[in-house]
Symmetry: C4
Subunit: 317 residues, 4 copies
Amino acid sequence: MKQFIYTSVLALSSALLFGYTVLDKKEDKKNKSYWPNGARLVISGSMQFETGGQPEGADSPFSGNPLPKGQPDLPADSWFRYGATEGVYRMLDLFDKYNVKITSHMVGEAVLKYPEVAKEIAKRGHEVAGHGIAWSDQWKLSYQDELKFVQDGDKAIESVTGVKPIGYNCNWLRRSPNTLKVLQESGYEYHIDDVSRDEPFITHVRGKDFIVVPYTLRNNDIVNIEGKHWTPQQHLAQLKADFDVLYEEGKDARRMMSFSLHDRIGGSPAMVKIMGEFFEYVQSHEGVVFMRKDEIANMIKNDPSTLVDDSEERYNN
Amino acid sequence: MKQFIYTSVLALSSALLFGYTVLDKKEDKKNKSYWPNGARLVISGSMQFETGGQPEGADSPFSGNPLPKGQPDLPADSWFRYGATEGVYRMLDLFDKYNVKITSHMVGEAVLKYPEVAKEIAKRGHEVAGHGIAWSDQWKLSYQDELKFVQDGDKAIESVTGVKPIGYNCNWLRRSPNTLKVLQESGYEYHIDDVSRDEPFITHVRGKDFIVVPYTLRNNDIVNIEGKHWTPQQHLAQLKADFDVLYEEGKDARRMMSFSLHDRIGGSPAMVKIMGEFFEYVQSHEGVVFMRKDEIANMIKNDPSTLVDDSEERYNN
Amino acid sequence: MKQFIYTSVLALSSALLFGYTVLDKKEDKKNKSYWPNGARLVISGSMQFETGGQPEGADSPFSGNPLPKGQPDLPADSWFRYGATEGVYRMLDLFDKYNVKITSHMVGEAVLKYPEVAKEIAKRGHEVAGHGIAWSDQWKLSYQDELKFVQDGDKAIESVTGVKPIGYNCNWLRRSPNTLKVLQESGYEYHIDDVSRDEPFITHVRGKDFIVVPYTLRNNDIVNIEGKHWTPQQHLAQLKADFDVLYEEGKDARRMMSFSLHDRIGGSPAMVKIMGEFFEYVQSHEGVVFMRKDEIANMIKNDPSTLVDDSEERYNN
Amino acid sequence: MKQFIYTSVLALSSALLFGYTVLDKKEDKKNKSYWPNGARLVISGSMQFETGGQPEGADSPFSGNPLPKGQPDLPADSWFRYGATEGVYRMLDLFDKYNVKITSHMVGEAVLKYPEVAKEIAKRGHEVAGHGIAWSDQWKLSYQDELKFVQDGDKAIESVTGVKPIGYNCNWLRRSPNTLKVLQESGYEYHIDDVSRDEPFITHVRGKDFIVVPYTLRNNDIVNIEGKHWTPQQHLAQLKADFDVLYEEGKDARRMMSFSLHDRIGGSPAMVKIMGEFFEYVQSHEGVVFMRKDEIANMIKNDPSTLVDDSEERYNN
């Protein structure tokens, strides 16, 4: 009897605490099917275009010692500006050299401030994706404010590039419980703010499919180069080691690798150096395919072998 | 006279301050006998299975900038979820490849949330060990609450895996002064939350033997990869250097090396890459034996040459 | 109509928030002309001479755990003193060995305290540049106080070295909105507290040309060695990778690389070791020219192909 | 006139602010004479023996998240205990293997708690040096309390090892303005809490010679391994690079290199591995001599070519 009560209470408190439904066992396994296009490993890159949209005190080499509110931080501004004057262009040239197409997550205000940068990214064949109108906390907005926040960003992007984004990335990945519903209402087909798997999957939002193309903290310049204080060479070593294992696993399963570059960080000379070395390394392997995230979403959305994971179901009804 | 008083006062204040009994000199030396099984070096790995049991704001790449209480941190949750969807399975495959058996410290709530993961760990031949019912501070509980905390964890584990754990690991190693008595009362035979030696030893709890199989902060993924911001390659270099010296010492003494991996950290592709390299490196040396911690405890508990160390005697009476 | 209002409001709020004028498109591109002297890559070094001018609690290995106000921090003082007793002399010998001339940014109070150091720097052929009379926040001073702060520094430097500086570096790069006007009024021709480009450019201050010779956070000993806790070897790897890409770009464009060394940091044996290796590496490439920043300013100031960038126009009228 | 006032005020404020006397120019140069014993480079190691004397919350892998006052931190205690059970003995074996004698700075309470460790250090031929009776802030004590603090430490050390120390190291190098006078009164001949030079020098305390044998933050395990989160291999790279330059300089000048190891940090297997590699590296060079700090002090105290530096004169009268 005691055991029975114990187990029930535990199960109940677990359900109350976490609000998860128990996952279908099938969903907890890696996807053992291949990619529809026969790729052994799909690699998908992100390039955040945010420069010019940064709020006062945004993360920079200066933000550990912030100036008083209202005081302009001129060298910090110049550090961000580098993204638009040097960083993005240097990365675009790198991508061209290795024929890599990436997804560019664009803050609306950055697009309005540097329209020529946004246009150039689109012109070179990269995906134009949403990142909100402003560089600010999206998770604390009401449903209506969040809807406006997302759609204002879309309008800014569309007015400059002519593209309506279908993929979304929140500031620091931090969604509200409503975000996926807001994105669905705004015509989005996928988001990236989930790092739970090394492959894309389908979740359900108000009962309809919504695609998750996982982002990365492991292979992310703002996390490692700025946050962990790694050298570019350390970042390269991490990238190669992640690749080696995912490529090995790709023999028997659908595997995807993400990397991320931010305009003012990934666009430095030293970072472009090691990204070039990374591209050379992976392109020397058979079956490695670089894909934009919208291409991935389109490829897998109607594939019955794509994983389904409703771990966040409670938020998505 | 003055000298006499001085010395007495010092000795007294030392005793009052630290509450140690002076150690038998013999106990301060390394154990100069070999392992009962003739091993030159025993290596013992830990794999924490905690994902799904994390409290709000638990250590993650997001916890430096916590959300307000009650606000779900969805990308942080997805980062933890990786342990159950990818991390543990990837490590299990690695352990199989190198025929390494480890000890898995399981948070009760994680086991209840992902029973299929706990079962798979047990099925593959690894030790199922206790880690409390919840991922929370054990050191601040009363004796009775701590007893319940430990035994609720045991029940959760036993109900899912059928195994009653005999080895214990506290959250962040932090025991209360009562922990070893609580563990003794709960049928435990050893704990790992001590990093004072590079070999297992016997301590006395209420006059009876209790075994300590030392854990590690030096060769620990959550300390180095997340806390010190090392690359996997730096972690590998640390592991190899620690091994080299302990293996050398193993010629003349009983020496043990610990390493530790957490589901969502050690289970990344890059970490599995370097752990594979570590296993290959050490397995190319004669006399290196991987053992589960329960196997170690059983092997040395009745061996008269095993070290005895009662440094914490004041707490264990 | 709604769209019209939306766009106008966005444009207006963007203008209000950032106060930038839209840049001439031409200014957003890299300079595609070569250096007037035919160099493929110009490298420009900074050596801060600040020791002896440090305020209580200035950044040092001790400042994380500051002593109470008024309590002298004797080992911290001895750490700074190293710059004047060992660091600067060791770097001067290094520069002589590789025939490199750099720009030395001198805090006035350091110059008055260690005049023999300031004189030796000048005697060896390096540029004597301004860094304020004191090691303190310049961004919070009024126009008049800032004018005095700059000019007191000039007088200290001139009285000891006989040189009136024409280039300026603020403490931690942090300028006030008035700084460039103050510098212009004080006879300065260029400043370095901008990291937005990998080449020098012209901005306008009260309608007249003022030159920006960009500084660096990427190749800066106080940022990387002290702030990021890199080893000297990691700093060297960063320097080489930055060089490789800028040198490659220098085939088709005017490119400049900055590095920075502080007396008590860059002057350590290990740092001088790797800087020597860096100089050997770059000097093995054709067309690499080391220049003082005043030489750079003089070379490009009347060159019509020099970039113009008025991103900070609102502050400079 | 204005210039005259300006200069006077500056000189005066500088004198008031810093209280330095202007150094004799001769004292600002490196010592261009060789070592009396003909060594090309003298290397001097420190081994702190502190374990068992640590106060609540002392720096450890646990101190970033301290327990409430009064709550024992058992795993932290076990981490410190490692110094006495494994660390010191492992380092002593290493020193024997390479015939290196070092200076051991011993906290009085550690000596009383682990007398067998202190005796073993002395027995193996290493210098027994003072480090205070307790592991606590010395800089805030009154003259009389500081005298007692130092002399209680001496008595503890002498009662166990039979040695009266003549060299001193403060906790975290942090001296009070009285420390050198207290040491002089207590029969000390040198201290190490100064990092301003790469050679020993003489200062004056109440008009009499007192020797400074510089310590190191650059080649210090607690700074780099624990504080900077370096791997042992990174520490080795730093040590070698520092050595290379000081050895080169030793051709023409008296140069000294310091390194530092703490019982529970430097005594880990991986650290002993790289220190062995360091010893092999430097011993393959001609003219490298390892010396205890008391030997250095005795060798240079009556050598007229030894540098004199009274930078702290104001505190030492």
